[in-house]
């Protein structure tokens, strides 16, 4: 294990008052979207860290954010019981979809025509998956979803679209992974390879594989369509987020412990690190320190030459890899 060097100093994005909940790159890679436990998600230029703007309108923590494939719209999921749709060019809120409980996850489908979001199981309400057709403006106005799928398993803690707008891939509080089919509204696949809550799910560039990050201190690689468990990456702390490199056989893991769970913290500054593993042989080969608190979200730039991490400390750090990262090879 070595300390991965990054040639330029990392770019630090400071625009949030509270801990970061999720970060995302757009498909072209020139923008980074960040949301946090404060009500204002931000969007930044990934090249120099300059802030493009903020999305004003929510009244509570924002748990999730996503951008569509042609970078025209953004959606956000918030604890204020709204899922909001925004116009990226103007920053204006186009639609506000009200729910009965906090909205936990959200995402644009591959085509960008459909959006999904999931709600929390609280106050006697069930956890639900809502599907809307954003191209249908009357539906958006009415607030009535195209499809509403009740979830009988433990609540959904992470969810993404499958590759062809056909199913939603969900991670649950007890470690279960499932597929929910859009045509029938039924759960069509279910596996349990994790023993604790799934914190994050991200796919590979072509969507054929996905990686899960779990509170049970591991991250696992699955085949997307069958949910066949292929690889496990082990750590000693809960994993909050995991991502697959778009150009190399690498995965990045970010984690730590929630502030509430830790009774004492190390006095050494910036102790929390992002860890890099070789995807196939499951061996760790590098770490990048810097965050002052646990890392809650990691994402690779679509060109694979840099990555970003969002932490409990409220900062987003953008790191460009140095030559040693690209030169690293596993002997076999």
């Amino acid at each position: 294990m070595s300390r991965l060097g990054t040639p330029k100093k990392p770019i630090i994005l400071h625009g949030h008052e509270r801990s970061i909940t999720q970060i995302k790159y757009n498909r072209q890679g020139d923008l980074i979207f960040s949301c946090a436990k404060d009500p204002q998600p931000n969007v930044w230029y990934s090249l120099n860290g300059e802030r493009l703007g903020s999305f004003k309108g929510h009244n509570g923590a924002v748990w999730s954010i996503d951008v569509n494939w042609d970078s025209t719209s953004v959606i956000t999921a918030s604890a204020d019981n709204f899922c909001k749709l925004w116009d990226l060019e103007t920053g204006r809120c186009i639609s506000s979809l009200e729910t009965r409980t906090a909205v936990r996850t959200c995402g644009f489908s591959y085509s960008g025509d459909l959006i999904m979001y999931t709600t929390d199981k609280t106050m006697g309400q069930n956890c639900e998956i809502h599907i809307f057709d954003v191209s249908d403006s009357s539906q958006m106005r009415s607030g009535e979803p195209l499809l509403c799928i009740p979830v009988s398993s433990t609540k959904i803690t992470s969810a993404i679209w499958g590759p062809f707008d056909e199913y939603i891939i969900c991670g649950h509080e007890d470690g279960e992974m499932s597929h929910y089919d859009l045509k029938t509204g039924e759960k069509i696949l279910s596996v349990k390879d994790h023993s604790k809550q799934i914190n994050d799910i991200q796919t590979s560039k072509d969507g054929s594989m996905l990686i899960t990050a779990s509170k049970d201190t591991t991250a696992k690689l699955f085949d997307t369509s069958t949910l066949r468990h292929m690889k496990t990456y082990k750590t000693e702390r809960p994993v909050n987020s995991a991502a697959i490199s778009p150009i190399k056989d690498h995965v990045a893991l970010g984690g730590g412990q929630e502030a509430m769970d830790v009774t004492t913290t190390s006095t050494k500054i910036g102790k929390f690190d992002a860890r890099f593993y070789h995807l196939v042989v499951e061996e760790e080969f590098g770490r990048v320190k810097g965050h002052f608190g646990p890392i809650n979200s990691v994402a690779f730039h679509p060109d694979g030459k840099s990555y970003s991490s969002g932490g409990e400390d409220g900062y987003v750090r953008v790191h460009y890899f140095d030559q040693s990262y690209f030169d690293f090879k596993v002997d076999y």
Partner: protein, 648 residues
């Protein structure tokens, strides 16, 4: 027995009984004595005989009945053999004893020989070719105990058992036995397969102590107070498995209550104003009496000679003093008077060459009358250094103004180190003793975070550790030239253990002390982190000790001189071993990579087959590969320079 040993014996036979009895009003107390002080509260006297007077003399025996059996037993213990006066001694027995002694079988049968239990070679582990050491690990909150071999790269499991012990484990001082604790007593395990060698029945056992020679083990159970025939402290012969002697435990003393001499010939404990030294194998008091020392506070044995050091605090006008005596002769080898002493602590160097007595001295003393306490103020500290090997044992003194937190001798050398001061200004100071009465300050390392000192068992190297509330700061120092080899940390470390050869040291975060990040880390003696071993609820790691080397001092010197010859051999073996491990790892990796490649090929095919679908979903825009993004090339012209050429 009736009809005593001497003339005019007054005999009392207490009878344990549960039935209540009325006190006899006829308690004509004998003129000679008040029995209550000797026999305790008596329920009644079953005076068949007893107090009745005949010929103006007592009958010579009485029967006493107690409500609680243990009172009767206590009465036997207290009064049997009690010298009333020069001519009269009490002989006291339990009533049940009569039956017991009457029914002694007429025929003596020789005890049958037990079949010989072959436990194999108990020292097998010393013959490990590569001299890997073993260590025990308790984890999963105490559920699992495992023995590992400290092989390079990864430890090898030698043995792993669930619920092997109910609390913790202890190795015997020379490493032959592993002791485990259970409700009913302790068990000793050893040999190549860790078979059970012996077990000792002592319900509720909590603490044990081995004699240094490993012939005896002392067990302590606080439970066994009121049960018949049960005792708090039992000493066992390990080989035979027999109880040798049992003792009561009265005062709240520190464990081990019995301290052994280095060769196991003697063991001793503090009594009230006395030092009781027992000898083995008879287990009786040396010279049949304790050594009377008024005010005795503490004593320690030399680790290499049959010598005891003890100290007595100041009384009235007599100063405190530290005394060294020879055992068994009890000859005083050295006495040192000390003035203004609040407390003393003794530290022997491992080779028995030096004894350090840390003396807390006060400048002011105040007696708190109500609580019968003494309060000291203005404390300062001295180290009294006894040079045991020199004639007449000269004593040198080193002063320290600050509060001393820890002290440790270099195990086989002439140096010592101590931690002093208050946080945040804590320092570690090193001294060396040179012949001719010279005690030289080597160095004082200032502003350190340390609360424990761990010398390597072979000397020269020391680990300064700030454990527990100091968050696991570790500093490795070479005292040969006082260089700091490494400054590092094992966050929240609770324990440090050197292996017996001084090559490796383990820092550990025990689940018993800290509920997360439980793991042990292996370091080289230079402070290089070799490996980390997180284990679910890891509790304890103990290196297996080694018996002292069979080589003489000259032989060891010879080997050290020719170390280069040996090290080249070892290097060859090491390199070979590295490549072996590598080939295995490489093979495994190769397999994983080829499996993955096959999987990826399938996925690539699928992906290619679905291209049209993807194009359709994104309105004909091909978003598959970033390189094929439409890029507009723009040519921008900048005006760089304007040059005017003037032709003449």
């Amino acid at each position: 027995m009736l009809g005593g040993r001497m003339a005019q014996v007054t005999e009392v036979v207490p009878i344990p009984t549960w039935r209540g009895r009325q006190r006899s009003s006829r308690r004509s107390a004998p003129t000679l004595l008040d029995t209550r002080s000797v026999y305790g509260e008596v329920q009644s006297d079953q005076s068949g005989g007893g107090w009745g007077r005949e010929n103006s003399k007592t009958k010579g025996y009485i029967f006493l009945e107690y409500t609680i059996p243990s009172h009767a037993q206590d009465a036997v213990k207290m009064a049997n053999g009690y010298k009333l006066d020069k001519l009269h001694t009490f002989a006291v027995n339990l009533f049940s004893d009569f039956e017991k002694f009457e029914n002694v079988p007429k025929h003596w049968e020789n005890p049958k020989p037990q079949p010989f239990k072959n436990v194999g070679d108990l020292k097998y582990w010393l013959q490990n070719e590569d001299c890997y050491d073993q260590y025990s690990v308790i984890y999963e909150g105490g559920e699992k105990t495992a023995i590992f071999l400290n092989s390079p790269r990864e430890p090898t499991v030698v043995e792993e058992r669930s619920r092997w012990t109910e609390t913790y484990v202890r190795w015997s001082p020379q490493g032959i036995y592993l002791a485990t604790f259970h409700m009913k007593g302790i068990a000793l395990w050893g040999g190549e397969k860790f078979d059970q060698i012996m077990r000792f029945n002592h319900p509720g056992v909590q603490l044990i102590d081995f004699s240094p020679c490993e012939r005896y083990v002392v067990t302590f159970s606080p439970m066994s107070a009121n049960q018949e025939d049960a005792q708090a402290i039992i000493i066992w012969d390990i080989r035979v498995g027999q109880q040798k002697r049992a003792f009561h435990c009265d005062a709240q003393s520190a464990w081990p209550i019995f301290k052994w001499s280095h060769d196991g010939k003697y063991f001793a404990r503090i009594g009230q104003d006395a030092l009781s030294i027992y000898e083995t194998p008879s287990f009786g008091l040396l010279d049949k009496k304790s050594l009377k020392i008024v005010g005795l506070r503490d004593f320690t044995w030399s680790p290499t000679d049959n010598m005891i050091a003890y100290w007595v605090p100041e009384q009235e006008n007599v100063p405190a003093r530290v005394t060294l005596i020879q055992v068994p002769s009890r000859k005083e080898l050295c006495v040192r008077n000390l003035f203004n002493v609040a407390d003393c602590k003794m530290h022997w160097q491992k080779n028995g060459d030096y004894l350090c007595v840390k003396v807390d001295r006060y400048s002011k003393l105040r007696k708190v009358e109500e609580k019968d306490q003494i309060k000291y103020s203005g404390l300062y500290y001295n180290f009294e250094l006894f040079r045991i090997r020199e004639k007449q044992i000269p004593v040198d003194k080193v002063e320290c103004k600050e509060n001393v937190l820890a002290f440790a001798w270099e195990p086989t050398g002439h140096k010592f180190a101590y931690i002093h001061g208050e946080s945040p200004r804590i320092s570690v100071t090193f001294y060396v003793l040179r012949p001719g009465g010279k005690v030289d300050l080597i160095k004082c390392l200032e502003r350190r975070t340390a609360n424990h000192l761990f010398w390597s068992p072979t000397g020269q190297f020391i680990l300064l550790a700030g454990l527990r509330n100091m968050n696991g700061v570790l500093e490795f120092v070479d005292t040969g030239d006082m260089t700091v080899m490494a400054q590092t940390e094992h966050f929240m470390a609770t324990d440090v253990e050197w292996d017996s050869t001084g090559r490796f040291v383990v820092s550990a975060v025990s689940w018993w002390g800290h509920k997360v990040d439980n793991a042990y880390w292996l370091w080289s003696f230079q402070g290089r982190l070799l490996s980390k071993h997180p284990l679910d609820r890891f509790c304890q790691l103990l290196w297996r000790p080694r018996p002292p080397s069979l080589l003489s001092v000259e032989q060891i010197k010879e080997i050290k001189k020719n170390i280069k010859k040996y090290s080249s051999q070892f290097e060859v073996v090491d390199r070979l071993r590295q490549s072996n491990v590598s080939t295995e790892l490489l093979k495994k990796r190769k397999q994983l990579m080829s499996e993955y490649e096959k999987y990826r090929d399938d996925k690539r095919e699928e992906y290619a087959a679905n291209k049209d679908r993807r194009l359709h979903m994104r309105r004909g825009v091909d978003t598959d590969d970033m390189d094929e993004e439409e890029m507009d090339e723009e040519v921008v012209e900048f005006l760089l320079k304007v040059e005017e050429i003037i032709e003449e």
